[in-house]
Amino acid sequence: MTLRKNLMMALAAGTLFVSAAGGARAEDAMPKEGGILRYAVSDDPANFDCHSANHFAALMRLAPHYSTLLRFKPGAYPEIEGDLAESWQADPASLTYTFKIRPGVKFHDGTDLSAKDVATTYERLTFPPEGVVSERLEAFRQIEKIEAVDDHTVRFKLKEWDTSVLGTFASPWNCVYSAALLASDPTYPKEKVMGSGPFVFTDFAAGSVWTSTKFDGYFRKGQPYLEGLESYTMEGPAVVNAIQAGQIHTDFRGVSPAGAERLKQSLGDAVAIESGPSLTHFLVTFNSEKPPFNDERVRRALNLAIDRWGGAKGLGQTTEMRYAGGIFLPGGQFASTEEELKKMPGFGADIEAARAEARQLLKEAGQENLSFDLTVRNGPPIVVDFGIFLVDQWRQIGVNAKNVVVETPPWASALSEGSFEAIVDIYSALREEPTEQMTKYVSHDVSARSAGRYTDRELDKLWHDQALETDAAKRKALLRAFETRLYEKSYSLPVVWLERTVAMNAALKGWTFNPSNFLYLDQSSTWLDE
């Protein structure tokens, strides 16, 4: 198991780590058929269109109804396998990806799914027509042309070669829609759920429950195992209560450490808890246009003052903020090892020395009495907790930062308009893919994701080069160079990675634990041992 290997690495690296039941647990027995899976989802989707959505809560509802071109292989994260695609060919020379579509796949309305549906879907994602919102433009920026060569072949032509695009085809967000329905109404997916996934939509009571039943015509024979799904809109302490009372099997997003602890105590063996680093990290971004943050020394001092190792250890006792790490998933295939990290600015093992250096830098910059506002989004409570942590860290080098907690809209406009001094941000990635992860940290004019309003062509070049690099070792070296420069310049700083803790009723099997909130949500191989 790659995941397990990753986790072992993290363990060996000395990262604070509790337990991982492992992803293989489910495969031990033959899946049983039947049963209704009940789970909590934190929010309702704004509408039913996967392509315009970006919240995992929407995907938790929509994923079971759709197929994608490729997918992450159940029980084998992060391996990718074909979903609608039977096979595929990557040809760097001609800049093309060619996919063979499985024959005999049916939509829920009984019509056949062909290459045309796939091509039309990707056309909609890459070049959205008037009135259609695509959240995936960034991911598909390298795609030049999409064509259905015949009924079973789709070909993508790229502008420039990019190894990371393959993973994009496995993104659960890229639900394949029916070309025929899209032709009559390009916005049909907003109101109607109709795909070729393992479950057929039956009903949605807004604010309450979303129900679906098994699709008998699903192209994977024998799947899905479950008779149906019921997902309830609920969040907060109510979720843990409901798992404890046996009303729901789980919340795939995970529960808080306190919640997990409570379930373990009250349910014992009747609950299975899996945990590991999640692909979500918290970062703080300085506005490099605004004095004194245009002074590298000031930013660097603030970077050095953050005790990432001690912080993760302390915060990790009671919150999900459990792993110190850089811009890549700690313990993951692209991350620096702990030794490498400890040599980088802000990650040193000796926090006292780092803080002394920080004070010195502030003195040199003439900012010994630095005080500024840290803009924090009044989102999930843990984000506010993170703001509290940062302010406390900076206090220790005599900096007076103040938490300014604001609602999401003003926070969002501060982020996009640069009307902040320092701002707290969250980055949740779908998968471990450096090219995508690094868009958060390249120059402002290169990626809209980057909020620090800086221009650093050296970072941009490293980012660009690593995407083209096919040799794994050389690519890693480029990634290390990128990280080192980023932390030295301290424009925008990764601070802590969250732990994902999924507490499941012990009867729930066949679901694959993974670091992303977005994967394995179609429930095709999930089953209940009841």
Binding site: I388, D392, E407
Partner: protein
């Protein structure tokens, strides 16, 4: 007959004009619950004010090694999930509660008082317009109106105090006070000494401030007290919903927000103490307010 004050105070009726003759003495003797409330208010106010001297810890200082610690000699009420001392946070949370509760109620009642008097004194179309406007405000439930204001005004922090939050809680109080003030003022307006003042050519402002307002002190104080307890509850509810006070300002409602209830079984102190703190303060103000009303109102006193 509909009692004109019934809409004003959430928890009882005001029936007659106040009488001032030495009620303090009767009050303490005849109102043990009210006296208890008063003592609790004074005590609560004192410890909040003196929080920096009493609190054993900085309410914002985190100590992760000591997170979710049970009550002990070192931490009398235990610690929260950041290792922050709950006792210190409750003391400082008291400051927030008193500050927001008292100032919101004071602002709302005072504006309401003068709006009410002015409307009764000026009369005519001004009175009509004010009345219409108040009626509109009264048609929207307090919590709902406060929430609308919170969402539209955003935050406006001055020394860590959200002025807009105070405004949001104060606004719904204005029409309630204004109503009472107006009907009291109408009675006073018809008294001969006001006519005398008008004849003597005193300015309108002088008449309103010097002659009319002091005579409405009784109902004003009663409503002020009653609305302090409501304002504290609304602040707690809004903060609980994540729409009121924000971290790191200690607030009782905020201490119950988020995942606090998840720890309720393993660390009950985290949810019990802030809830008790809210209850005690609101309890104190309610009892004091009731007793004040009874003491100021001869008819109500005769009943008890």
């Amino acid at each position: 007959m509909r009692n004109p004050f019934a809409t004003a105070v959430s928890d009882g009726l005001w029936t007659e004009a106040p009488k001032h003759s030495g009620f303090l003495h009767r009050y303490v003797l005849g109102q043990p619950l009210g006296a208890l409330g008063f003592v609790l208010i004074v005590a609560g106010f004192a410890v909040s004010l003196l929080a920096p001297f009493i609190a054993p810890y900085d309410p914002l200082a985190t100590d992760y090694g000591n997170a979710v610690a049970a009550p002990s000699l070192a931490h009398w009420l235990g610690t929260d999930s950041f290792g922050r001392d709950l006792f210190s946070r409750i003391l400082y949370g008291g400051r927030t509660a008193f500050l927001i509760g008292v100032s919101a109620s004071f602002v709302g009642c005072t504006i309401g008082l003068f709006v009410g008097i002015a409307s009764a004194y000026i009369g005519g179309w001004v009175e009509m317009i004010i009345e219409r406007f108040l009626e509109i405000l009264l048609a929207i439930p307090i919590t709902v109106l406060a929430l609308v204001l919170v969402s539209s005004l955003g935050r406006n922090l001055v020394y860590g105090i959200d002025l807009n939050l105070i405004l949001a809680i104060a606004l719904p109080i204005i029409p309630k006070m204004a109503r009472v003030a107006r009907s009291q003022a109408l009675t006073i307006r018809s008294q001969s000494y006001i006519d005398a003042a008008v004849t003597l050519g005193f300015s309108d402002l002088r008449i309103i401030f010097r002659h009319m307002a002091p005579n409405i002190t009784g109902p004003y104080l009663v409503l002020l007290t009653a609305f302090i307890s409501q304002a504290i509850l609304i602040e707690a509810s809004l903060s609980y919903l994540g729409l009121g006070v924000t971290e790191p300002t200690p607030s009782w409602g905020l201490m119950l927000a988020g995942n606090a209830f998840n720890t309720a079984m393993t660390a009950p102190w985290i949810v019990i103490f802030p809830g008790v703190a809210i209850a005690v303060v609101v309890f104190a103000f309610s009892m004091f307010g009731d007793a004040l009303r009874d003491a100021l109102d001869p008819k109500a006193r005769a009943d008890r």
